[in-house]
């Protein structure tokens, strides 16, 4: 058997052509070859990564070009033979071997659409255990695990569930946030394409724990493969009695549907997502009321990110303590970190909290692809702060990052070398906010454009001191007066760029000019 990934990233670098070349070569040689389409392990620089199961575990070849396929047959790859593309046993590739995969253990191993394989690799054990417990005990278990939301705000999942569970209402919902808009992030997509049953299992546990009867999965429009994978997996679970009326003969009934997003970054904010699911324009709703009490169609709603929910089955299956034993401080468990930008080895690293930026960038990422020194790192998506090279020993920990006015967000890390122009990055942050703003509140709607203009003036050397002072004032207003975190956090990348890289703006190199209030 030969495994060829079918994940979007692998497809984008020719995985289908490789699979076709293997099938054609097998026919030419008269060899019976079974091709299994798995998903990606998340070692993107090796895609298409072809794997062959052997007695000593799966051995890998990659990145494979279709023209190399005859050579692979020649080298006896079907028995694990050596070839210039050989990677040896895949599980021993250091990038993978050093990870702690509680969520992504099946990624790239199983056929994402095989419920039998899912169960053979531990799937549904969490839901089974949950259904044997009282709903309140399930909430307690998730609370005790210390799990916090992986969509960005890091709110304790157990507290959110408890709020929904405690609300009295004729009907409750679970809404999965799969809008994954942060630049350079893909962990939600990898779960949905590579292990869709995992998300659906986590979602069913959330519904059982909170008393929800219906769910929505709001998937960004750029993810057609994820939509197809989820719909197929839902049908399979329904047919097997895990979704729908009276799940596994119990009194618990739950079903879900997939909704395709509106193609706007702001629709990833939970209240805008709710508006969008309701068929309205993706605009921010003010809080309170919290979605947990008055969410979709005015009913109590659990809104959770894909990775948050995908973390839940392991917590139920192996216990809160097992999960909480990973991590540091108030950041418990593992986070799938998505390495992107200027790194040699881009891909998914699932690690317990506490791993440092340096370990991630150097040990996992192998340093910059350009070979030049790392100058800046943006953590936590387009609204995350930039750090300079002196902060690379910061651990990935919600509180440690917050101390430096940063955030872990959805786990995206984008690396820049010393050719980066940080004034341009700051300008881009404001421009991004101007384009993606929902337009409801003035600090963000008008402020983002003014911010871009001020930065452009500073860079052109037009009254830099005055414009710098005005930019700091504007950032203060956006941070403290915006209605939601888009306008409220857009200043973070700007302020951090100003703080660590003033020379890129043509500003004096002391960190904060003395005349500025």
């Amino acid at each position: 058997m030969v495994c060829v990934p079918r994940d979007s990233t692998a497809l984008s670098v020719g995985a289908d052509a490789v699979a076709a070349a293997i099938a054609a070569e097998a026919v030419r040689r008269g060899l019976p070859v079974e091709i299994k389409r798995t998903s990606s392990r998340g070692l993107f620089w090796l895609e298409p990564l072809v794997e062959v199961p052997t007695a000593a575990g799966a051995v890998g070849y990659g990145p494979v070009e279709p023209e190399e396929v005859p050579g692979l047959f020649e080298a006896g790859f079907l028995q694990g033979g050596r070839h210039s593309r050989s990677l040896g046993p895949v599980a021993q590739i250091p990038f993978l071997a050093r990870q702690e995969r509680l969520i992504f253990g099946r990624a790239g191993v199983t056929d994402p659409q095989s419920l039998a394989e899912y169960q053979a690799h531990g799937g549904l054990a969490g839901l089974r255990r949950a259904l044997s417990m009282a709903p309140a005990a399930v909430v307690d278990e998730v609370h005790a695990s210390g799990l916090r939301g992986r969509g960005g705000a890091a709110f304790p999942t157990g507290i959110k569930w408890r709020t929904v569970a405690g609300a009295q209402a004729p009907c409750k919902y679970v809404a999965v946030n799969a809008d994954e808009g942060d630049s350079g992030t893909y962990s939600d997509r990898m779960v949905m394409e590579g292990d869709p049953f995992l998300l659906l299992e986590g979602m069913a546990i959330a519904a059982y724990a909170t008393g929800a009867s219906h769910g929505y999965i709001y998937v960004r429009s750029e993810y057609p493969h994820a939509v197809a994978a989820l719909e197929a997996a839902l049908a399979t679970l329904r047919a097997a009695g895990w979704y729908g009326a009276r799940v596994q003969g119990s009194d618990f009934s739950f079903d879900a549907e997939v909704r395709v997003g509106a193609g706007a970054y702001i629709c990833g904010e939970e209240t805008a997502m709710i508006e969008s699911i309701e068929g309205k324009r993706g605009m921010i709703r003010y809080k309170p009321p919290l979605p947990a009490l008055k969410g979709l169609f005015g009913m109590p709603t659990v809104v959770n990110n894909v990775v948050s929910l995908a973390s839940v089955p392991a917590i139920l299956d192996r216990g809160a303590q097992f999960y909480a034993d990973y991590g540091m401080g108030r950041s418990r468990g593992t986070l799938p970190i998505q390495l992107a930008g200027n790194v040699k080895r881009a891909g998914l690293v699932e690690k317990a909290f506490g791993v440092t930026l340096r370990e991630l960038i150097e040990d996992f990422g192998g340093g910059t692809r350009s070979g030049r020194p790392v100058r800046a790192v943006q953590v936590g998506g387009p609204l995350g702060a930039y750090f300079d090279a002196s902060l690379l020993d910061l651990p990935l920990d919600y509180e440690a990052l917050a101390q430096h006015k940063g955030m872990a967000g959805h786990g995206g890390i984008v690396v820049f070398d010393d050719t980066v122009d940080m004034a341009e990055q700051a300008r881009y942050a404001m421009a991004f906010c101007a384009i993606e703003s929902c337009g409801k509140c003035t600090p963000c709607r008008v402020g983002s454009t003014r911010g871009r203009e001020l930065i452009e003036r500073i860079v052109r050397g037009e009254r830099p001191r005055e414009n710098h002072a005005q930019l700091l004032k504007l950032c203060d207003v956006m941070e403290n007066a915006s209605l939601c975190a888009l306008g409220g956090m857009a200043p973070w990348p700007v302020l951090s760029a100003l703080k660590y890289f003033p020379e890129d703006f043509g500003l004096p190199s002391e960190r904060q000019p003395a005349h500025v209030v």
Binding site: A264, S437, G439, C441, T442, P443, A481
Partner: protein, 243 residues
């Protein structure tokens, strides 16, 4: 209780509609006030005689929370919540008038003025102009930038006109059309800086689903939507007396 308040001070706009819940007592700038549960901090502040400036709120419409000039401080809470969207709680201690609030409000006003016809800032007459007077902010330090000042006036409707240059995108007209009139003729089109008020699918008012009821004109805090009868000498100035 609402009607009593109304009877007492007929001209007051409490900012958000009345509620009829149990009595809740709180203080606003040290002044104790009792309002119905479910009321906004903004309403309580107005009832306490400590009104907060506002642009997107009016007691004819449900709160919206978009203009961000009505920020307050609440003891024991982080940040600067908008008073129009924050429900009262028993024992709350609200401050409406700290130096920090003045600073943030001034910052928001500067942003409004950075996209508002400079010649109409002084001597105008509208709720926006009242807020300009109250906050004392009548200019901005952003220099010339992207703006909507050249957007064409829509004077297709026989009774009123729409001057997008003066629009602060507060959505009061859109909400008045929906909530007061029950028509859905107006929407906000576009996102971010491009957001703008349009009738139907971006048609002239006269060709849209607009029924000329005037609810939007009444709701508009800036005279962006304004009765034509005020401008017999031709529209352009903020002050009809000068027109």
């Amino acid at each position: 209780m609402w009607s009593e308040l109304r009877a007492l001070r007929e001209d007051v706009d409490y900012g958000t509609p009345p509620r009829d819940g149990e009595a809740v007592t709180l203080t606003v700038d040290g002044v104790p006030v009792t309002v119905a549960a479910g009321s906004s901090v903004m309403l309580a502040a107005a009832a306490a005689g400590r009104p907060v400036v506002k642009l997107c709120a009016t007691d004819m419409l449900e709160a919206f929370g978009s203009c961000r000039v009505c920020l307050v401080e609440i003891e024991g809470r982080r940040g600067f919540p908008a008073s129009c969207t924050t429900p009262v709680e028993p024992g709350m201690a609200v401050r409406t008038d700290t130096p920090r609030l003045a600073e943030l409000r001034a910052g928001v006003m500067e942003l409004y003025l950075s996209d508002f016809p400079a010649e109409d800032v002084l001597g105008g007459w509208s709720e926006l102009h009242e807020v300009i007077a109250t906050t004392g902010v009548s200019s901005h330090r952003y220099g010339p930038g992207e703006n909507h000042l050249a957007a064409p006036v829509d004077d297709s409707n026989p009774y009123f006109l729409f001057d997008p240059a003066k629009c602060i995108v507060c959505s009061r007209c859109v909400r008045a059309c929906e909530e007061v009139q029950g028509t859905f003729a107006l929407t906000i089109q576009g996102r971010g800086f491009e957001s703008k008020v349009v009738a139907s699918q971006g048609e002239p008012f006269l060709d849209s689903e607009c029924v000329s009821c005037g609810a939007c004109v009444q709701a508009c805090p800036t005279q962006s939507l304004v009765e034509k009868s005020l401008f017999e000498g031709g529209y352009r100035s903020a002050d009809p007396a000068q027109a």
